[in-house]
């Protein structure tokens, strides 16, 4: 049986409408899957902090981790009492970037 599409404007509108929905769903679904895969592998941006303090406990400094740092390393002299500054703690904190907000 021959479909008289050109004579029926309603059918055309319906076909266009449904194909639009189909394309939208496909793209949405694909995008969702890709995003999930990516987010699993993606690194959460981290920042490594080094905390050092004077052995007389009158001075403390917090800075970014440098290659070669380790807990117990003597990291210069105290500006107040001239004794050694020792690295006490090294840890990572999540870096809060605006980028993550923009993506959503």
């Amino acid at each position: 049986m021959y479909l008289q599409i050109d004579s029926n404007i309603l059918t055309i509108i319906l076909i266009v409408f449904f194909s639009a929905i189909l394309i939208y769903l496909l793209r949405f679904g694909l995008g969702y899957m890709m995003k999930r895969n990516r987010s699993e592998l993606q690194d959460q941006p981290l920042k490594t902090i080094t905390i050092a303090s004077c052995i007389n406990n009158d001075y403390m400094l917090e800075r970014e981790f440098r290659e070669g740092d380790f807990i117990g390393k003597i990291d210069g002299l105290c500006p107040k009492c001239n004794s050694n500054i020792v690295i006490e703690k090294i840890y990572v904190v999540p870096l809060t970037v605006k980028e993550t907000k923009e993506k959503r």
Binding site: F65, D69, V86, V92, V93
Partner: protein
């Protein structure tokens, strides 16, 4: 069919993880100036397995296991030394641990691929279905391992370094005396007590041999020891707070057996109570660079150890404190 495709997709993801970690190791080796990093990596990936000793004859089983683990480690490090002769011991230990992580990932991948191919070959849908259901969890558990490599190479303490960090807080910068391979001790005085602090030799990535260390110190003091305290990171139950401290009895150490039994035997021989102080964390936190939560809990664990020493021992006593764990980034 759906299972098969799902498993294949996840396996590809794991394969990229393996490749990523191998590439990371390769980059770091290049940076160290190693000429042929591929040779080093290929030489490690498929080798150095340990076969469990015969267990139907229980006599000496722990000695045999210890022997094999020690031999294997020695062999591994000697071979690495051949490849990179002018590298410090600490860097060598960092390389060794990173390679061990990469090869562990590779082995997991190979096993999973084995079951996938087996399921496909014999059309065993139950096998594929099991893999399909378990893989999401496995992928999530494996991702931290790739991230751990960066931390270890750069010398950032990991969650498992909690024990050595408590030891550092006790011993501070007092001299480290070698007592066994990659293991050191320091002698300090806390309100009249002689406290021997055992830890792995930092700041390289190694767990040392704390059991042997404790054994040798006990021998040195002719078994005159009032108390032994072990401090270690421990796996929390899901829902528990990361970095919470808990205290109990026994040897807090998670090795295959030889080190733990050494500490237990010494405690029994000396008639010394054996305390365990644990710092709780998730499995991913234990291998990733240390989070602030756990770094802050070190102070609490330190206070707890001090409390035990001050309230449960007398001045003049000999006490051993063992900071168990990986001493990457901790002197």
């Amino acid at each position: 069919m759906r299972y098969e495709r799902g498993v294949a997709a996840r396996l590809i993801l794991i394969e990229t993880l393996v490749k990523e970690s191998i590439n990371k190791v390769k980059n770091y080796l290049n940076r160290l100036g190693i000429k042929e990093p591929d040779n080093v990596i290929n030489g490690v990936l498929d080798n150095y397995f340990v076969i469990e000793p015969v267990s139907i004859e229980p006599i000496d089983i722990i000695k045999r296991l210890d022997h094999m683990i020690t031999n294997n480690e020695d062999k591994f490090k000697k071979d690495l030394e051949k490849f990179m002769p002018n590298v410090s011991r600490h860097t060598l230990n960092n390389v060794a641990v990173s390679l061990a992580i990469a090869s562990a990932l590779f082995i997991v991948f190979k096993i999973l691929r084995h079951y996938y191919l087996l399921g496909k070959k014999y059309e065993n849908w139950i096998l594929l279905m099991q893999l399909y259901l378990q893989l999401p969890q496995l992928v999530k558990e494996l991702i931290p391992y790739t991230k751990a490599i960066d931390g270890v190479f750069r010398g950032i303490p990991i969650g498992d370094s909690a024990g050595p960090m408590v030891a550092f807080k006790l011993a501070s910068l007092s001299p480290r005396i070698d007592i066994d391979e990659d293991t050191v001790y320091s002698l300090i005085n806390i309100e009249g007590r002689n406290v021997y602090i055992v830890k792995a030799k930092g700041p390289g990535a190694t767990v040392g041999r704390p059991g042997k260390g404790v054994y040798k110190i006990a021998e040195m003091l002719s078994y005159n020891i009032a108390r032994i305290i072990t401090v270690d990171a421990a796996l929390k139950l899901e829902g528990e707070q990361s970095g919470s401290i808990s205290e109990g009895s026994g040897a807090a150490i998670g090795d295959p057996g030889p080190e733990k039994i050494e500490i237990e035997r010494i405690a029994v021989k000396c008639g010394a109570p054996l305390d365990a102080v644990i710092i709780k964390m998730g499995i991913d936190e234990a291998i990733k660079p240390m989070s602030k939560e756990i770094a802050d809990s070190i102070d609490k664990a330190y206070q707890k150890v001090l409390d035990i020493i001050k309230t449960r021992t007398k001045p003049g006593d000999n006490i051993i404190v063992a900071g168990i764990g990986n001493s990457v980034g901790v002197y």
